[in-house]
């Protein structure tokens, strides 16, 4: 199993797509944090402490990139038909996906950690320059929650890519769902939102949209893990059994 994970990491390290996405993640977080600081001066319903915390919570904006990394790790192999080589070396296809989950878990964690550190550094600097309080209660928890969430989205991407197999479709489905559909459903049906994958992720990070209620962080984490597991199981039962032609 170890050698399969090492092979995945080797391939990922050499891939320009992976490097590009890994660099874009912290850059995006920093830009979001900058926007958060810029909006500090304006009037709003949130107390100052919450606004400071929200600046650091922008570390979770890296989720888009780990999600894409995970999808490219599986669906990308189907797109380039390189999955044939994987299955020739390891005919047990479930093990190939398990190795990808482990590898993209490691990559996702690294990207998430760098994004969180970049957000922390940029957020602190910009808050200070803007003359705002640099810290507030709950900042460490928001950063830690972001790291866990961003890593989790990488695993979800691996599962989605294995299940859908078509990379373009997988990316479009993931983007539509996590950027629009989920938010829309949460706005329309606040009671439902917390049970959706993104709602579970928000619970992990302790970030709610509007007044929508969240599960406790542990329950959100367990629910998110259950979603990943369900998708991977579905991929094993359906997509991975298909012929590779």
């Amino acid at each position: 199993m170890n050698r399969l994970i090492r092979a995945e990491l080797l391939r990922a390290r050499a891939s320009r797509t992976v490097r590009t996405l890994a660099v874009l993640a912290p850059v995006t977080c920093v830009l979001w944090a900058g926007l958060g600081v810029a909006l500090m001066g304006t009037d709003g319903p949130l107390p100052a402490d919450d606004r400071v915390r929200n600046v650091y919570a922008m570390a979770q904006q890296a989720y888009v990139f780990t999600l894409l990394l995970g999808i490219s790790g599986t669906a990308g192999e189907f797109r380039h038909q390189t999955i044939t080589w994987r299955f020739l070396v390891t005919p047990d296809r479930g093990r190939v996906v398990d190795a990808k989950l482990a590898a993209y878990g490691i990559i996702g964690l690294a990207v998430a950690a760098v994004a969180a550190l970049a957000t922390l550094a940029a957020g602190a600097l910009l808050l200070r320059l803007g003359g705002h309080p640099v810290t507030a209660p709950g900042v460490p928890a928001a950063l830690a929650g972001a790291v866990v969430t961003v890593t989790g989205y990488g695993l979800l991407g691996v599962g989605l890519g294995a299940l859908i197999r078509n990379q373009t479709t997988a990316v479009v489905v993931a983007m539509l769902w996590f950027m629009y559909a989920d938010y829309l459903l949460t706005m329309l049906l606040p009671g439902l939102g917390r049970w959706l994958p993104a709602g579970a992720a928000r619970a992990l990070a302790g970030m709610s949209i509007g007044d929508a209620e969240l599960l406790p962080a542990w329950a959100g984490g367990a629910l998110f893990a259950a979603y990943v597991l369900a998708i991977v199981m579905a991929a094993r039962l359906i997509a991975l059994r298909r012929d590779v032609a």
Partner: protein, 233 residues
């Protein structure tokens, strides 16, 4: 039973349907060790589907395909047992030849020096650190062959390996496969270039519409083209 277990590849009543189309229909043959066996047939005869079933990539509707007496998916060390060059072998265009092979080698748990060795074998050492996206078709075929040779397998399965090779490449491949079989190893190769394969093959399996229409040895005097045209008629 004993004789069958001696075969490198054993295909028994192998069948595959895609919807209502029977791509492979009750196909049975043995590929004996130490032989070069030509796997021939018109386009759409089911050659590629058969090879992919032998390699565990396509699940048969019926029947079985064994390599060294076991289904591919149950081989403990697939790359060390059988190497495969598939039609239009695919690579990630952004990766170099060396990274591609290094990834396979790592996953298969093979010795580090194997990568340089197979690159040398297929004469790709100079191009090893270039991205595969810039490779010619012939170079891709060589890289695919390098991947097949990584585990130093006893059996090679090749689907149209001469595709895209220039005359010197074809000459080189012929010599390579002949030498490979002389070491007591087995080669199963699908091709349309009858004049070429006749020079090295000692057995032929000809299929048409998913069924075997000829299986047998080729003697130095036999005319493969005549046998082929007669068989598929």
């Amino acid at each position: 039973m004993h004789r069958r277990s001696m075969s490198a590849i054993t295909v028994t009543h192998l069948s595959k349907s895609f919807g209502r189309v029977r791509a492979v229909d009750d196909l049975s043959f043995d590929v004996e060790r130490g032989t070069v066996t030509a796997f021939l047939g018109p386009n759409g005869a089911g050659k590629t589907t058969t090879l992919r079933m032998i390699l565990g990539l396509v699940t048969p509707t019926w029947g079985s395909a064994l390599v060294d007496g076991r289904p591919y998916r149950e081989l403990a060390d697939p790359l060390a047992t059988v190497g495969a060059v598939l039609e239009a072998a695919a690579f990630h265009p952004g990766l170099t030849a060396r990274v591609h092979l290094e990834t396979l080698r790592t996953a298969a748990g093979l010795a580090p020096e194997r990568v340089a060795h197979v690159l040398e074998q297929v004469d790709l050492t100079e191009a090893a650190d270039r991205r595969v996206g810039g490779f010619s078709l012939g170079m891709r075929q060589r890289l695919a062959l390098a991947g097949a040779l990584l585990g130093d397998p006893g059996t090679l399965i090749l689907d149209e390996p001469a595709n895209g090779l220039d005359p010197a490449g074809v000459h080189w491949l012929r010599g390579f496969l002949r030498a490979y079989a002389l070491q007591g190893r087995t080669v199963l190769v699908s091709t349309h270039v009858l004049a070429e394969i006749q020079q090295i093959a000692d057995h032929a399996i000809i299929i048409s519409e998913g069924q075997a229409v000829f299986t047998g040895p080729l003697t130095p005097g036999s005319d493969l083209e005549e046998i082929y045209l007669e068989a598929i008629r």
